[in-house]
Symmetry: C2
Subunit: 195 residues, 2 copies
């Protein structure tokens, strides 16, 4: 997705060979217009998949998921990393290990909102080791829902998550796939095509 590639090149900060900081448009400050384009692109790619719900995880997945949900006309559910006063019973729960933060969190989704009739699109901001997606698919398995596929804003193609998930037969659509962050430079896996 050309506008996303350009934004990453222009504003992304390479902090190390594995860490890309995109706090200016995705993870802290958010660019609503770009999120709209991203949501529309996910909606276009999964237009014929019969999606009934979108599932993401707080916090950075919410903006792109919301814009895709607006386009597709379906509700968005964000898995919570912490239980709250109003969300503590009747939950699907899974564990997600974050290598970046070096911690394991339980994520939870209310049983009220996903069931075996749902066809679900998972959306997240980053795909690296794939642990968040695994946790979300585990929740869908518990619910007996159908997974239509996974939409990712930025995939770190040099880490193992994308391969692992695709090898398990799941459709993954990543709008930008980074092949390398070495020498402080962002390199993309695919050719940049005009979208």
């Amino acid at each position: 997705m050309k506008s996303l590639h350009e934004k990453i090149v222009k504003e992304g900060k390479v902090l190390s060979d594995t860490v890309l900081k995109v706090d200016s448009f995705l993870n802290h400050q958010i660019d609503p217009s770009l999120m709209k384009q991203i949501g529309d692109e996910f909606a276009s790619r999964f237009a014929d998949a019969g999606i009934t719900k979108i599932l993401t995880i707080e916090s950075s997945g919410i903006a792109p998921a919301m814009m895709a949900g607006l386009n597709l006309g379906v509700p968005v559910i964000f898995a919570r990393k912490r239980k709250s006063v109003t969300l503590k019973d009747n939950l699907f729960t899974s564990s997600v290990h974050s290598f970046t933060k070096n911690e394991t969190n339980d994520i939870s989704v209310s049983k009220e909102f996903i069931n075996e009739d749902d066809v679900v699109l998972i959306i997240d901001d980053f795909l690296a080791n794939g642990q968040a997606v695994l946790g979300l698919t585990d929740i869908l398995d518990q619910a007996g829902a159908t997974l239509a596929g996974v939409g990712i804003v930025i995939e770190k193609g040099f880490q193992s998550g994308g391969k692992m998930i695709r090898n398990s037969g799941i459709r993954v659509e990543s709008l930008a796939i980074i092949s390398s962050l070495k020498n402080g430079e962002v390199e993309f896996l695919e050719e940049v095509t005009v979208s």
Copy 2:
């Protein structure tokens, strides 16, 4: 805002005299179409305020803030409740006490994204005791930015936050103001008018 009032009456669950659960469209599952209407309403009310940035707080503020930002054509920043690998230095920080969760969190915003030239609209999902808004205004004070006002999706009018913030001279626009949750019933402060 009529569609919001109707949604609250139809789907809100009164858990106690002070707790309203709106997990089906705002705090866990999100209704993107309603969020779009909410964002457009905030944008309309603050259309002439010269807004340059919207500031919210993760996670439930992100969806309405995003839609307002899309309409106004300005970036959205969400204050983080936890420091992350890519967000740990060069921060404005304030403390926010949550009476609902009975805990105090530091919230942080990168100094990169708000400065003294900014005119900022604060958006949040709920206004109860006003602690989150106080923390966000404290951050704006640290940045030397101008506060245009506060946009709230649901205000608990029977709690003290709205009065405290309005009394300090800040413009507060709440799209639904609840006067009482007693006897398991939602009562609104104002007449429901067709928007």
